[in-house]
Symmetry: C2
Subunit: 452 residues, 2 copies
């Protein structure tokens, strides 16, 4: 038992300060390649007042606090790399308001993304963001990372749905920012600044989300193409011709192989595929025909397609897609996953380079992700010595930035990409990042070692 654990036990009580070894181990890692780090204490509050107390004590006693949603992050953001306390918000999991008339929801940070989606749909409304981990990831974590997902293509990322939030900063001050109406410009947009700040500026205790009317029942049109570049080209064609599916996901050949299973059997000759989720397709087959006609007309018809208009069939394919990352991890001894984004029309160039980088270093690769957004999950894979990974990632980042892209489309910087940050941002911008961090957390105690 650490001194910190003893202190917190005295101040917050055994209900809140966890002595469970399994939970402590859980709180030592996320779902990235970041090495685990065991915290000195784990605090699981049920109330914002306990969050205030913890952050007041942390400032007084100068110990680090690492906030944690559900630990599904991909960049090491919730790993307590400097020890101290992990603040896990999974017990603050109430949906406080669901207001279909005003199209808004107020929730605690521990509510899962899927829970809000289901509650919203039951009320006839819709919460679009859908990271692959949606069944387990928390909305607090989604806002901290500004999570995306397939539906970001049509509906935008988490940020577009954060109207306001309640947060506690290091030192224990709690405050509200943002607004409940869909528009508001009263004061600085601190809700937007906190969204995507990776738990380094404040801890969320309440979130106000915008909802939208529920779209028509979607269906899934899976398009297979001879080569990956054909699939990538189809993305540009669809966007230019004003098709905006609810999702437009790309899978290359290795990703299709990883996705293969009882519910999903891609043809052997497909070099790439698009998952094209179409509003209203469940009730109207003609909607799928429109996409096929458009692609034929543009001279890039798919070599095959599947229409999955029933929720079960579509769900099985989506499950397979969401499991690609896990299954690639199981198939190869070593895997490193990146999350770069480029302007959409430059995706063919990015994809070509990924192939060249992997070939040049004797690695396997798999690319899948949100092609409609120019955001690709690039995986380098090997069963041999993974020492080529570093060069692969460096080359990937170099070409990404040359193409005007960014190191992370949706996973965040965390611990894993922080040393690459100066490659994307000039010293003057990094200085402003640091100035903002200092303004919120001058002692660098809140989620230290992340981003900067």
């Amino acid at each position: 038992m650490t001194d910190l654990h003893t202190l917190l036990l005295r101040e917050l009580g055994p209900e809140i300060v966890c002595s469970d070894e399994a939970l402590t181990r859980d709180c030592s890692h996320d779902e990235s390649e970041q090495a685990p780090a065991i915290p000195d204490a784990v605090v699981a509050p049920t109330d914002p007042l306990q969050v205030e107390t913890l952050l007041r004590l942390a400032a007084e006693h100068r110990f680090p606090v690492t906030p944690r949603g559900a630990g599904t992050g991909k960049s090491g953001g919730s790993v307590p790399v400097r020890g101290g306390a992990v603040l896990t918000l999974h017990r603050m999991d109430h949906v406080l308001e669901l207001d279909p008339e005003n199209l808004l929801a107020v929730v605690e940070p521990g509510v899962t993304c899927a829970r809000l989606q289901r509650d919203a749909e039951a009320a006839g409304v819709f919460y679009p963001p859908d990271p692959a981990s949606l069944e387990t990831c928390s909305l607090g974590g989604n806002v901290a990372e500004n999570a995306g997902g397939p539906r970001a293509f049509r509906y935008g990322v988490t940020r577009e749905y954060v109207l306001g939030l309640e947060a506690v900063r290091m030192g224990g001050e709690r405050f509200d920012v943002g607004h409940r109406p869909v528009k508001g410009v009263s004061g600085y947009d601190l809700a937007a600044l906190l969204t995507g700040s990776e738990g380094t500026l404040a801890v969320f205790t309440k979130l106000i989300f915008k909802l939208i009317p529920r779209p028509g029942e979607p269906g899934l049109l899976i398009l297979y193409f001879p080569g990956l570049q054909d699939a990538v080209r189809a993305v540009t064609v669809l966007v230019q011709r004003r098709f905006f599916p609810m999702a437009l996901e790309l899978l290359d050949r290795p990703s299709l192989e990883a996705a293969r299973g009882p519910g999903f059997a891609p043809p052997d000759d497909a070099g790439g595929a698009l998952f094209c989720e179409l509003e209203g397709l469940a009730g109207d087959e003609a909607i799928g025909r429109g996409v096929l006609d458009c692609l034929a007309d543009a001279g890039c018809p798919p070599s095959g397609f599947e229409l999955r208009r029933d929720p079960e069939g579509a769900g099985a394919a989506w499950d397979a897609r969401r499991d690609v990352s896990k299954r690639l991890k199981a198939r190869f001894a070593h895997k490193i996953s990146e999350d770069v984004a480029v302007p959409r029309a430059l995706l063919p160039e990015l994809v070509r380079n990924v192939g060249e980088i992997a070939d040049g270093l004797g690695l396997d690769s798999a690319c899948y992700g949100h092609a409609g957004d120019g955001n690709l999950h690039v995986n380098f894979l090997t069963d041999k010595d993974p020492q080529g990974f570093l060069a692969a990632v460096e080359r990937l980042f170099r070409i990404t930035l040359l193409l005007g892209g960014t190191l992370s489309g949706e996973h965040g910087i965390g611990t894993l990409k922080r040393r690459f940050l100066p490659a994307e941002h000039a010293p003057a911008a990094l200085a402003m990042f640091r100035a903002v961090k200092r303004a919120w957390d001058p002692l660098d105690l809140l989620n230290p070692g992340k981003i900067l």
Copy 2:
């Protein structure tokens, strides 16, 4: 000639430092009720390096700098209330990139909103934000104020279109923030923080905007209702039934009277109207029928309607709508205009209260604006002594906040609403606003006297 003018003339030259009295007078005011203030000098750069120089000199010599777009603001944001230099960006007016394939544009801050819209449409793409002043307002000002407009209802406000920007902070450091891909979470979202910061944190020298594919040619369906509440109710009905027009604007009886003119003649018995801009209506009359059927089905049919499917007819009605503010100003000796927003379904309650407030104080009132967003431009009007205005505004803000609303949906806080800011934001939130301001501009020299 002031000392400051002399200093700047020496450092920046007569090409950049303006000696024109008319321009100096122009730079003393915006389009709000804020009293004019003559600056000590006016600087009109053509290059970011000159902006750097000015902001370096300002920090060295400790003089205030008030950045200025086109002076069309409604909250006093560009009025140099503490003197010093006005930095007018109207000469930095180049469209640097227009890339329809990647759906992005890079512009200098002095480009007008309408210019970007026209250039985008000529290239087959679309820039949605459309503040009423779009023909003259600058994009730099739009980003500084996070401008809205009628089309925010379907397409969101300016913030949703800012991918990244180049800015110079007090002291002269220039930096880039944001990204060119549609998604990006690398570092703090400083582009989002700067959007809506009213020129108090940094001066924009370049803006990267997201564009979208050009929608089908719109037409305008004008719906007239017996009473204002009928029109407000129709908004909720349309949203609930998933009609998302490109714009959904409300006008009450006095606003309709003000809008009346050669191109727009509302029926005498209309108590309220909705301007419903529908994608594709120009080419397909049936699209208007869908809205009418929906309203009839919901038991709130309009008492009359006009279909304006040709650009000229629709344009004349929009011009009339955009001129309502100006015409109300011309009709009454005194006018005060607010810009509150509430959750959409509470609009009937807000509208009812506006009527009661005006009646109770013997004032006239006119309400119009972005009903689909719950964002209403509330005007109190009188030809007599305007001393009731203060009480009217205080009551309006009180009911707005009681309804969970915000003091400003799109015009900003500027000078005019800063003393009301503590009514909306708790001390801890205001403290964070100040901490952010200090991090960027510790000497309070950049647009001082605004927001805080």
